[in-house]
Symmetry: none
Subunit: 204 residues, 4 copies
DNA sequence: AATGAATGAGTATTCATTCAT
DNA sequence: AATGAATGAATACTCATTCAT
């Protein structure tokens, strides 16, 4: 009974199904956040039944990590290519290439990086780019620039840049567990802050 | 029969109860994450009944935001005091004071800042301080330092610093919506990267 | 220390407090339904503290039943007065007066009857088949039958029949919003009452 | 080893599950009231897990309305069949058939009508003044009036009047418990219906 | 009489995961 | 490989009622 022998087969190569599920998950995670997305929405989005999800992933965290790995690898590939295009001895060029390629990879992912590394608490989506600490720092930078203590084209940008940098280094697990490690950390932060503003660090 | 003349009154001033609830919530959020903490655990931790929670907060998000506000304000107070201790014209000192006071505030809070701005997905706790992109950048910085292209006391630190800085500026909502804004963003990131390594940016 | 000797006394005569609570409850029950109204809303509406409610009523069902009793009594009073105004032998007039007075009482209560009889399941399961209004009507029908004013095999049945009919037509949302619609409604009810007792309506 | 070739499949056709859930809900609503019945009790009663309820209904109000719709439709079907059995010009017979069929439908439902119309506040506020049974009765009255079988100034009003009257008398606890009481009740309802339309009841 | 902080039992609803087909 | 009905643990939130002051 070859009634529908050419009907589209319900079964697809695993690779393809997996990709479709990841695509659906990525879109939903971006749209409404990881926490707010249900497995059922992912399978509906991918056009398969609920149970099919578990044929390819073991949990929501599993897709998330697959997405993460894919994203990071893609950015890294871009960086490697860009940096590789520089002359061997052009270190400044390499550094510039690194920053640009990394930022480009992020921007192209349009928000994917947000949940790639961090969870997205809607209420705090702006927490690291807009808060009273950043405002305060921004003002300080602008004031100093006004007094020619340093130059700063865009104090707001530099403030976000520095605040996140600080937040990141301070947030490393296990950092500053001893008094001396802490002192060293603070010294390093300070030196980097000064450098960003074009000042030599005190020790040099 | 003054058996219990100082017997603990079941009812306390609202202020005090609220603080106890916040303290219990903070401890639990730190210990097991915001998501993993139950309202009931908070009230049990504060030694009150479940319903009492709702006499002071409307939801878990509500306590979280109260905690956040308190933390940020405390850090800001420390910064203001530190910066205020500098001579009016000592801009370098002010900047150094800012970085140190802010970092100190964070470190003293012992992890509180983590959920203050970001949600804490256990699996990704290290996402922003340890990943292949940071490793790659760290290596690049170390290599360049080895070739005297720049100096870097601690390439790993600088890599985390720069990676988070980049992540932060790139993650600003609405940034880089136009082509020119994007170009400008990339240029600014590059310039800041170069400065951190002690290089003049190309334009200067 | 007569600091505020003329300040309004917190305590009022029980009667008055009770009335205020009933008034608040009635308003809220009408506005948002019995089920949807909380004790706290009632006390807030009456301008007293939560605990005060329990000084006057034992539960929400208790106020409801007090409201019910008051409403039914008021309607009955109106009926008795109206019927009493008829000549002793004017049975048709008495029946017409009964229907009009009862309907008027209902309409004036503007929806109160809805929850007075309907919206309280267990306690009122018998509300529409056994109450003092039905008893009164039943008696009137029996008396009239005894005087051969009309025939009624089962006055109790007919009373329940008529009472429910009246309740139903009067309870139609939006009915009797204008004066003329109201007059027309009363006329129609009266005519139907007379017909049920086998009397020609006045107009015919 | 055909030990259980007819083993009960855990999964059943949706239709069947839905019916089982409705049956359990109906029984419980009747036994202890809508308000007092828990979703969990319904699922336990239907022999399924709690979550299964939400596969078929969105809330308790949802089952209630499904029950209501089913009940009303069943009564209407009975009425249509009964009325359809009358000769075209036998208006008195049609009206009598209507009252008897409707009352019978109600009595057979043994209390279901109570919560079908009464015990469900918001959505059913109009239940007793606007439903398909009333519409059907209204049409019958209008048609009969058009044929001069009786006079009716406002068929819609009379329909609401009669429907509520019938609903009330039928809803009396303990009524029609014996076959003869039931016959007597039906006879009385019919007689009152005829009287309202100005017809002499058959017996007289 | 009045207060209002505290209580905690009671329940609806969600959703990841399983498994028989 | 795929399905989707069924599961049931997990939890936030409400609100009537109490009681120490």
């Amino acid at each position: 009974m070859p009634e529908n022998s050419v009907s589209k087969p319900r079964t697809k190569p695993p690779e393809e199904r997996r990709d479709e599920l990841m695509a659906a998950a990525e879109r939903l995670f971006l749209e409404k956040g990881v926490e707010q997305t249900t497995i059922e929405e992912i399978t509906t989005g991918a056009g398969v039944a609920k149970g099919t999800f578990y044929l390819h992933f073991s949990s929501k965290a599993d897709v998330l990590q697959a997405l993460r790995a894919r994203f990071v690898q893609a950015v890294l590939d871009g960086i490697v290519a860009a940096v590789g295009g520089c002359r061997e001895e052009d270190w400044r060029g390499k550094l510039a290439a690194w920053s640009t390629a990394c930022a480009t990879g992020y921007l192209d992912a349009a928000g994917l990086h947000h949940f790639a590394f961090v969870a997205a608490p809607p209420a705090t989506r702006e927490g690291l780019s807009r808060n009273i600490l950043i405002d305060h720092l921004s003002e300080l930078i602008a004031d100093g620039a006004g007094e020619n203590a340093w130059s700063a084209d865009d104090p707001g940008f530099t403030a976000v840049f520095l605040f996140n940098a600080l937040h990141g280094v301070v947030n490393q697990p296990g950092i500053a567990e001893t008094t001396s490690a802490r002192a060293e950390l603070l010294r390093a932060i300070e030196a980097h802050f000064l450098r960003v503003l074009g000042l030599r660090s005190g020790i040099d």
